[in-house]
Amino acid sequence: MSKHSEHGSTKSYVVGFILSLIFTLVPYYLVVNMTLAGTTLWVAILGIAVLQMAIQLLFFLHLGRGPKPLYNIVFFFATAGVIVITVGASLFIMNNLYRNMSPEESTRRLAQKENIAQIGGEETGACAQNKNSYIITIQDGMADPNLVEAERCDTLTFFNKDSETRVIRFGVYPAQESYGGEFEVVLDDARPETITLNQEGEFMFYDERDLGVSGSFNVE
């Protein structure tokens, strides 16, 4: 048995080094050149980082090679499990906490629901009186009209005429932005849901479960 089999040869280091360089430059150019965007880019660069780690573990640390005790590997993977739980659960909990308890969002939601125009002398953006009403009808997987031009304090009603439940989110898929403090509008079978247009700007919406349903509304 060659003495290099356990600790790696110069060749294995050179191969590992070249692969590492490639897996460093590829994500760099993906990000700098904006070849991809959003979630796709995230998945790509994080996937490459994991590959990079695998390369270094195999070529630089020679994981799993040579007669090393089994408990080393077992301990390594146990730690990986703990890390996944720690990081994943932290993100999950904090994201929920933010969406449900963020003072900005809940104040805005409350102000709209209870019609509070001012808090501590600052405008909340809530509309005391609603003006025009617009209706977007969702039928056969299409939103009609898919563009609404409205003014502030108009109302917008989503009317779901299909039998499936729809979850309308704001932004462009897969974003989950909020509008007027709401993150989603749930439309049950044949039930309308109305929101007050209290935030100015151009907004997009989509059905989280059926991406064919999408559109936008502009509030002046």
Partner: protein, 198 residues
């Protein structure tokens, strides 16, 4: 005589296994600490209190340069380790010397970046994003610093006492530590620096 020698060898191998396992336990707990810092950064990275975020502050070129320096140092460290196993003292000193210089350059780059941020008024106390950034990247930098001190001491010992088997074992632990820091940095580079521009 040969019987005695054999027993001695297997005893030494068992000691090495134990030391390696102990060091692995240390590395994994260290990794857990980094995981917690990563989670903290992931949660707080958008809490800039209206100030500039990562996309405005970070320079991707600087981060790439640092990554290439550290990656190369990990490679030279591996080559130095081959030299150590072959018992070639000068090869060890040359390659670990290069590793040391590359690590030093990396640390210099990181301190330069930190100094720039602080000079522009983006300090650790500015907002939650910067607190978590400085803690995560600073902790890694502190590890690099400790690694450099450790490597410097080991090289001084190699010069003074030559490549004994204990020395080779110590160098092996050191190189394990260095590769570990390289892997942690890959995730900082990807998640913190590149991630800021996604």
């Amino acid at each position: 005589m040969s019987e005695h020698h054999k027993v001695d060898k297997s005893h030494e191998a068992a000691v090495t296994d134990r030391i390696m396992f102990g060091f692995l336990v240390y590395l994994m707990t260290d990794l857990l600490m980094f995981a917690v810092l990563f989670a903290t950064y992931a949660v707080l990275r958008n809490n800039t209190l209206g100030g500039p975020g990562g996309a405005e502050l970070f320079s991707p070129q600087l981060a790439l340069t640092g990554t290439l320096l550290l990656l190369t140092s990990s490679f030279t460290c591996g080559i130095g380790m081959i030299g150590a196993r072959e018992g070639r003292r000068n090869k060890v000193l040359a390659w670990f010397g290069i590793t040391f210089l590359l690590g030093l350059a990396f640390l210099g780059l990181e301190l330069y970046e930190f100094a720039e941020f602080i000079h522009e008024g983006h300090t650790m106390t500015t907002n939650a994003f910067l607190s978590s950034f400085f803690t995560l990247v600073g902790t890694h930098g502190l590890h690099i610093f400790s690694g450099l001190v450790w490597l410097g001491i080991l090289m001084a010992y190699v010069v003074k006492r030559g490549l004994t088997s204990t020395m080779v074992r110590k160098l092996a632990l050191m190189s394990l530590f260095w590769h570990f820091l390289d892997i942690v940095w890959i995730f900082i580079f990807t998640f913190v620096y590149l991630g800021a521009f996604v």
